[in-house]
């Protein structure tokens, strides 16, 4: 096979399969069946562990959501049917949390992807001290959530916080300190800053791994064709990164919805419960009030929301590929 330069495009994850050597008649069906069996065999190890560790407990949680559950010895569980779900759908505090999580997601997901992409692109080609930079950008990812949440809380403190100091004394953008953590939207903004800060490195290393697979010839060919850097990124790099971008987006959306420790430590749901997140609310129901049935129902509702978003994103991404 001769080396080709620009004529071999990258394949998408969506539906592209290798074409198999031709087999006559019924041999085709048998070959297909054999391939399917091979596929199942490949899936078995992962799925066995997954079913035991994750799926069975998830099914149990789904079952629990239909009860007023007491898991304790001698405790009684009473069937309530859909009562937990109707309660969840009318729960104002839960709805508030969902809205907060959505806003948090809308800010942090594009933020992390964009900045992660920028970092990945900057680190793509050769550069002095590149290994050092790669480690530095990864540091926030491995620093403990507890530590950074508390640190960010102190950053955003009204009197004496670094952010206010910069805004008031440094840049003179505002007259007096902003009470970041004392009102709903500014607190969510501060939490989002933390989320983006922590996740940029994570997104960057996935996209970087994807970028290394984009052949240099593509860029050179496009450059020869007269495309500027940004145009090349848009037309060559991004399509090649589609698989990784979908992955990053779906995971960041899931993660954004399940925001927990930052909310707990930065604002503790305050002031007056305004920055409550779905997961902190759920945790309270399950482990503080011991209302496991309701907690499970809330979790199922959250899962459905995230599932819809994720499936939607994947379909959109695949449609654009076709």
């Amino acid at each position: 096979m001769s080396t080709q330069v620009t004529a071999v495009p990258r394949r998408e994850a969506a539906g592209e399969q290798p074409t198999h050597p031709p087999t006559p008649g019924t041999g085709r069906r048998r070959a297909a069946a054999r391939r399917a069996l091979t596929a199942y065999a490949l899936l078995v190890p992962a799925f066995v562990v997954f079913v035991v560790v994750m799926l069975v407990p998830i099914a149990k949680a789904a079952q629990v959501s239909l009860y007023q559950w007491s898991p304790f010895p001698g405790g009684e569980s009473t069937w309530v049917g859909a009562a937990n779900y109707t309660r969840a759908l009318h729960d104002d505090q839960f709805r508030l949390g969902v809205v907060n999580a959505l806003v948090y997601m809308v800010i942090t997901v594009p933020g992390q992807i964009l900045l992660g992409l920028v970092v990945a692109l900057l680190l793509e080609s050769r550069l002095p001290a590149r290994p050092l930079f790669r480690v530095l950008f990864y540091l926030p990812v491995v620093t403990s959530w507890v530590v950074v949440s508390l640190l960010f809380r102190y950053l955003f403190v009204t009197d004496g916080g670094l952010v206010n100091w910069v805004l008031v004394d440094g840049l003179h953008v505002v007259d007096h300190p902003v009470a970041w953590l004392d009102s709903r939207w500014s607190a969510i903004g501060a939490m989002s800053a933390l989320g983006i800060w922590k996740g940029v490195g994570w997104a960057a290393i996935i996209l970087l791994a994807g970028l290394t697979g984009v052949p240099a010839e593509h860029h050179e060919a496009a450059a020869v064709d007269g495309a500027g850097y940004l145009r090349r990124v848009w037309h060559v790099t991004l399509p090649a990164l589609r698989g990784q971008l979908v992955f990053v987006t779906v995971l960041l959306v899931i993660g954004g919805f399940q925001v927990f420790i930052q909310s707990l430590l930065m604002t503790n749901g305050g002031p007056a419960g305004q920055t409550e997140m779905p997961l902190t609310y759920l945790y309270k129901q399950a482990f503080k009030y011991l209302d496991f049935g309701y907690g499970s129902a809330l979790a199922m509702v959250m899962t459905v929301l995230v599932l819809v978003l994720s499936v939607g994103q994947t379909i959109l991404a695949n449609r654009r590929a076709a």
Partner: protein
């Protein structure tokens, strides 16, 4: 190369360095604060405004953290658990990702979304059911039990990650090998694995970090202090009313070293990507 192109390249490089340095500086400030506090004696609260140079500086926190309560053993436990989980998760996820990426079979989409479900359900509500399963299978209070649970929790994300990479391997290569008579496993080992080294390295980095940092399940499942892992050890330094932050940070810095080592080792594989090589015969 013309002088102009060279100058253009150099300006570009300098610009990139400036931007990256500014970004890196912003990102590592909290880490620097952590490190500097770990060298300060006896700090019970977060100082504000932060003093980055510890004065006086002391190693006492590190000595105390390492010497406290079997810390070295917890470190060892974490190493065992994380290494085993990483190897197993990456292997199982790679096999599954290969199936999803390159095979057509009934239920493919359904099975994939079932796997994704594992990522979407908040772990808090499955904690008690998982504990019941673990009790039933005698997987509680043991390091090998932890490994099994970490694998189960990690296959979904890593399969998803690797599937994307496997799917982007050029199909012509696969077809060529099949024409040459190579079976699916041979193609997997000889073609997909080598070509996906960046992806596998990334997957290994994530699995290691996830297993190394995992706290909630470990503290729930393990009752024997001899089997505690590092995150539990670090959390134990936090008191009910006051926390010795210098001690916590020293312990956290010690804990971060293996993760960074794994990352640094993996980086070589992530970036020495395969470029034109993928398309040559």
């Amino acid at each position: 190369m013309s002088v102009q192109t060279r100058r253009y390249r150099r300006t570009r490089t300098v610009a990139r360095l400036v931007v990256l340095s500014a970004g890196a500086a912003l990102l590592i400030v909290p880490f620097l604060y952590m490190v500097s506090t770990s060298f300060k004696p006896n700090s019970l609260v977060f100082e504000w405004p932060p003093k980055f140079i510890p004065h006086p500086a002391t190693l006492a926190n590190y000595v105390q953290a390492w010497g406290a309560n079997d810390f070295a053993r917890y470190f060892g436990n974490s190493v065992l658990v994380a290494c085993a989980s990483t190897l197993a998760t990456t292997l199982l996820a790679a096999l599954a990702a290969y199936a999803f990426a390159r095979f057509r079979f009934p239920g493919r989409s359904l099975l994939f979304w079932v796997l994704m479900l594992g990522l979407m359900v908040p772990s808090v509500v499955i904690l008690i059911p998982q504990y019941l399963v673990a009790t039933w299978l005698h997987l509680n209070n043991s390091l090998s039990g932890l490994v099994v649970f970490y694998i189960g929790a990690g296959v979904a994300l890593n399969t998803f990650l690797l599937r994307g990479f496997f799917a982007s391997v050029a199909t012509e290569l696969d077809e060529a090998m099949e024409v040459d008579g190579a079976g699916p496993m041979r193609r997997f080992v000889a073609l997909y694995l080598p070509l996906s080294r960046p992806a596998l390295a990334t997957s290994a980095v994530f699995s290691f970090l996830a297993a190394w940092d995992e706290y909630s399940w470990a503290v729930t499942s393990i009752n024997d202090p001899a089997k505690y892992t590092l995150p539990i050890a670090i959390a134990q330094f936090q008191g009910q009313h006051a926390t010795s932050w210098g001690l916590v940070f020293a312990a956290s810095v010690i804990a971060m070293i293996p993760v960074l080592v794994v990352y640094a080792l993996a980086q070589r594989h992530i970036v020495t990507g395969l470029q034109a090589g993928a398309l040559k015969s």
